[in-house]
Symmetry: C2
Subunit: 162 residues, 2 copies
DNA sequence: CTGCCTGCAAACTCTTTGCACGAAT
DNA sequence: ATTCGTGCAAAGAGTTTGCAGGCAG
């Protein structure tokens, strides 16, 4: 955790190198958006990101945020979390762990990330059976906050706040 | 399969009963939309549904289609298939089988439904661990058509055309 | 008859895009 | 100097909604 904060500078360097390697320019706006993304502990929307990026550089516009998101996603520094709402969530890829599934609360609107390591096995199995290369997988469980609350993991961030 | 066609009338009756039981009215438009939904072999969009419903009753409007979709979904006669595109797919629930996962082709834009019976086990496991009642689950695999084509299941509907 | 249902069109929300200016290389 | 990146505002796409008239119960 303090490893993450300590690493931000080096991750920012990684981002700069990514931009350069793709022939893209290193602009203040892109760096501000990157910093804003990494300042979020959990999921954030494009609008959240805009707001926070503007605190760093108030010249950042909504358009630039939307144009930066695919770049950040492609660099694997953030990942997109689409849970079927009308806007997408994003999340800094601070720890490259195992496959993550989402538990989505219907009551408190939160999204919890949980490890689902067996999905790697599943992907392989599907890939073998159909002889294809899996690009990505998505596993989501929708549940009720009432239940989550009883389990002590809702409104308290017992797993991972969203 | 011919069981499905043979059953349409009785399923339509089920739909009427559902409407009545909810205090909703049985209108020609709703029946046309129901028939249109069941005339689709695979996935369809709201727009697809509108087009086909109008062939049955040309007074059906887009608004009514959008208002009917939640009703049909709630009745479990159709189900929503959200694969993260900017519009949703729907599908008649012709055979109440096991849990379905989606294989989404990035090249040919098709969606294949495959059985994933282990997901019922997974739901139960998650439910037990977090002591919650799972409302729904979603499992999606994104893959490349090239691979699917080599496997002989793309552009030919080897699994289930979408 | 009552009031839910409908069609129409405008409104909405998130995201994308055209354009002229500004900044990175 | 070039050329890519940016802000602004308008456009876009799918879906939702307000309203006045219409039809089911």
């Amino acid at each position: 955790m303090e490893q993450n904060t300590a690493n931000i500078d080096s991750v920012r360097e990684t981002f700069k190198e990514f931009l350069t390697s793709k022939g893209l320019r290193v602009t203040n706006q892109r760096l501000a958006i990157f910093d804003a993304a990494y300042s979020h502990a959990d999921h954030f929307t494009a609008e959240d990101l805009l707001e926070r990026a503007r605190e760093i550089d108030d010249s950042v516009s909504r358009a630039t945020v939307y144009r930066a998101l695919p770049i950040l996603t492609e660099s694997s520094l953030i990942r997109e979390v689409d849970v079927g709402r009308d806007y997408k969530f994003y999340m800094a890829n601070k720890n490259a762990t195992t496959f993550q599934a989402q538990v989505i609360c219907l009551d408190c609107e939160k999204i919890f990330e949980i490890d689902a390591p067996f999905m790697e096995w599943y992907g392989k199995t599907v890939a073998d059976k159909l002889s294809l290369n899996v690009e990505s997988q998505r596993l989501q469980v929708t549940a009720r906050c009432n239940e989550l609350r009883e389990a002590g993991i809702c409104e308290r961030g017992g797993i991972s706040k969203g």
